[in-house]
């Protein structure tokens, strides 16, 4: 079973909670996905507003573990304060650390990410850093005290799937003993199966399920794809070959001349 920061993680699919057509569909999609961990965020509450409390009740009823994020933070200061506020509110020292560096691609500011990770680890957090597939940055995040890495496979919400599979392969082989979660960019269950076949430990997705025509059915499809990909990885997939290789035995074939 997957173990992260000493916790046994039953499901290898982590699901985001944003952009669903309704709270009821969100709840049903989480159940259909079998996710044991969902991501949540913090946003300004209006005076007299009760939306935050209602959302929190819904999540608590699902009985899943929450992974708060620092989505939308563009500076170390913002991300660190948001993480501390999340810990106070959600009662968990887990934090999905995002420090956004580029407006259009939502690419992480990897320099700020490493700095924020160091500060938060020293403050007792268990940091899940949203990063790129850059090996050097990943090494610095581990040096900072992160015990899990979450590389993107394409920009957030782009649904493009793994745009650089070679880099992901290198990433996996560079860090064989670190839990690696593909976070962001997955569009279809086949993408999820593909990265799981490469040996990634889990996937984190949101938009691909929430914005699907039928989010609940798509949640189930992703769950099965993640399972299939994991099984395939353990089963040892064939490497691609340049030339055809007959699958039917050639020896013993009749000759008609």
């Amino acid at each position: 079973m997957l173990s992260i920061y000493g916790e046994e993680i039953a499901s290898r699919l982590l699901l985001g909670t944003a952009q669903y057509p309704s709270p009821a569909i969100l709840a049903e999609a989480v159940r259909a996905s079998s996710a044991g961990i969902v991501t949540v965020s913090l946003r300004r509450e209006t005076a007299g507003g009760r939306t935050g409390g209602q959302f929190w009740e819904l999540i608590r009823e699902l009985g899943v573990r929450v992974l708060p994020n620092t989505a939308g933070c563009h500076s170390v200061k913002e991300a660190v304060t948001t993480a501390r506020m999340a810990r106070d509110l959600f009662g968990t020292d887990w934090i999905k650390l995002e420090v956004i560096g580029h407006h259009d691609t939502l690419q992480p500011d990897v320099f700020g990410l490493v700095e924020a990770a160091r500060i938060l680890v020293e403050d007792g957090f268990k940091v899940f850093p949203y990063t790129t597939e850059d090996l050097v940055v990943a090494g610095r995040l581990l040096d900072a005290g992160c015990a899990v890495l979450m590389p993107w496979c394409a920009p957030i919400g782009s649904a493009r799937g793994p745009v650089n599979p070679d880099a992901l392969r290198s990433f996996r082989s560079e860090f064989p003993d670190i839990p690696l979660i593909i976070d962001a960019g997955l569009g279809r269950p086949s993408h999820a199966a593909g990265v799981m076949e490469l040996g990634f430990d889990a996937v984190l997705l949101n938009t691909a399920v929430a914005k699907a025509g039928d989010p609940v059915a798509m949640a189930r499809a992703f769950a099965e794809a993640v399972e299939a990909g994991r099984c395939a990885f353990h089963a040892g997939p064939l490497e691609p070959r340049d030339m055809a290789v007959p699958s039917t035995p050639v020896i013993g074939k009749a000759v008609f001349e």
């Binding site: 991501t39 946003r43 509450e45 409390g53 929190w56 989505a71 501390r84 506020m85 509110l89």
Partner: protein, 110 residues
């Protein structure tokens, strides 16, 4: 667990009310039912920035501010001037004129 609760400490040495603006809250003083008003003449209101918007408030602590603005305190995280104020510190967190308050709630996220 090393939670940064220091956002308020500096405020204990300050006298926020003296920096506040004098505002006579006529709406509170002239109650039709003749009941006693909580406000007194010369009620001092502070100008704060709450979630990016300027507000004039009577509250002098963060806990009182949440009540005054009708928030549900159990489902909120609060920050004063960019630093977390833990739930357990709100009662002791004195406010000063010009403070910037962030009041955040759980929301959907990816």
């Amino acid at each position: 667990m090393g939670v940064a609760g220091g956002a308020c400490k500096k405020n204990h040495m300050r006298l926020p009310c003296l920096e506040g603006e004098m505002v006579a809250p006529f709406d509170k003083l002239k109650r039709a039912d003749g009941g006693e008003s909580r406000a007194t003449v010369g009620d001092i209101r502070m100008k704060l920035t709450v979630n990016g918007e300027e507000q004039a408030v009577s509250a002098t602590t963060l806990a009182a501010l949440l009540v005054e603005l009708d928030y549900e305190p159990d489902f909120l995280a609060t920050a004063l001037n960019g630093e977390l104020v833990p739930m357990t510190e709100r009662e002791r967190c004195a406010l000063s004129d010009g403070d910037r308050i962030e009041i955040l709630a759980p929301m959907q996220g990816g």
